[in-house]
Amino acid sequence: MVWVETIINGVLLGGLYGLFGVGLALVFGVTRIVNIMHGEFIALSAFIALGISGLFPDVHPLLLILPVVVVSFALGYALQALLVNRSMRFPDPLAPLLLTFGLSVIVRNLMIEGFGVNPRTIRQGDFGRLSVDVFGIHIGVLPLATLALAIVLFIALQLVLRRTEIGRIVRATADNSEVVRLMGVRPSSVYNIVMGLSFALAGVAGLMLALRTTFTPFSGVERLLISFEVVVMGGLGSFWGAMLGGIALGVAQLIGLRLNSNSGFLYANLVFLAFIMLRPNGLFGART
């Protein structure tokens, strides 16, 4: 029974990891940029959520999603419009990577400067401790809500990309950013929206992380590796693959922790290592 509980909790944790990765996968799929500051943004949104919850202490923690999404989208949009698009004009594809790497260092240190390094929590009443019993298994309501939220967001993202005009433009731009210009589309405007969406998803991930556990300015960078592993396991650019990859890593991590409580991310990383040796193209990755 203990093992069943562990696996279920691992699956629920996987929902969070899927959320970490999906924004990264979206940006890479459309712009081919490896966004190193994705982790910092997860941490920053945790602090944004903390700030907003400080202003409205009586609001249910899950309602923080709305303001966090709005603020994150705006930040991502502005970052792409002001900086990343400029770096993409360099012929060297390393320029955007270096930019986001540099920004991640700057943003992390600004967070340390502004918020300190002591672990913080968002006060949320009893919500974080609620659990339901199913056949004698304790399942936390918050992790359950996280997975449900992740699935809802994935479906929503999929619908936007498949069924709307802006989704069509995003897919076409990912296919060929020169030819869309012949249809009157400015690729950089598309990238702004995509980065905004990616940050909004990272913002939700940061909020759910902040509700689940304590966080510091380093909480993002510690999970950047997980985010990348999720994306690679899913196959670059595949969202459902990212979700399944996240679940595999979540289960591996919790089983590992049960075997040895000091193992941290070790088992998750071992599973990733085994995975890339067996399926180097990812779960759904055939495109190159």
Binding site: E165, R168, D175, N176, V179, G184
Partner: protein
């Protein structure tokens, strides 16, 4: 005059691809641009469409100089390039590819229904992915996508390259219909015979220079051969 390009030079790094190309197109006219591989035909179309990065010279369209404008602005003004190799969006269905063409929201004769009337086959294939279509069918999608923008000038870059003769016939037959609705056409074509029979006027490029121009029906075959090969 719909389009007037004057002394257009274009470069790829240190290599000069066009040397002072001057060309004009009247409204609803069709013009063929012929020449051997590497003569600069594609480069010239890319200059007009705003995709060439290093270029100089003036390009007047509807009376204003568009030489410095980005491709997306030029597309909205009504110049649409159907690029070499068709360049359909592989992750979009046939219909979604066509709808991409309509994004500039230019009003006019062409819309999804009219494109399907012109190429009924595309209506049957509307939910299919482009890579499941034959080359000729992909060519029809490329033309349909360009028409969706209701261009006043359509630039077709070797749209018939590598296609079966039947498919080429269908594409050339559609050009007459397209011009009837008021769109001027510039055709880049390697098949000189086909190009001259389908157009009003013809320009021949050789090594980035215009070596011959004239009315298609009156052009002297021997002169054209010399202009084409530079012998």
């Amino acid at each position: 005059m719909l389009l007037e390009a004057m002394n257009v030079d274009a470069f790829y790094g240190d290599l000069q691809a066009l040397h002072g190309v001057t060309l004009h197109v009247d409204a609803a006219e069709s013009v063929a641009l012929v020449g051997a591989n590497g003569a600069g035909k594609t480069t010239f179309l890319r200059c007009i469409a705003g995709l060439a990065e290093q270029k100089s010279g003036a390009i007047y369209f509807d009376g204003s100089n568009i030489a410095g404008l980005p491709a997306e602005t030029i597309a909205r003004l009504g110049i649409v390039l159907a690029p070499e190799g068709r360049m359909l969006f592989p992750s979009l269905t046939v219909e979604e590819n066509l709808l991409m063409g309509g994004l500039s929201r230019r009003r006019g004769y062409w819309d999804l229904q009219r494109v399907y009337q012109l190429f009924p086959l595309l209506a049957e294939r509307r939910v299919q992915m482009p890579n499941t279509l034959s080359g000729g069918q992909q060519g029809l999608v490329a033309i349909g996508r360009a028409l969706m923008a209701n261009p006043s000038l359509l630039l077709c870059d070797e749209i018939s390259l590598g296609l079966a003769p039947v498919a080429i016939d269908q594409i050339y037959a559609s050009f007459a219909r397209i011009r009837d609705e008021g769109t001027a056409i510039v055709l880049v074509e390697q098949d000189v015979k086909r190009a001259s029979s389908a157009t009003n006027r013809i320009y021949c490029l050789l090594e980035g220079r215009v070596t011959l121009q004239g009315v298609s029906q009156e052009i002297n075959a021997e002169k054209l051969t010399r202009a084409y090969f530079g012998t």
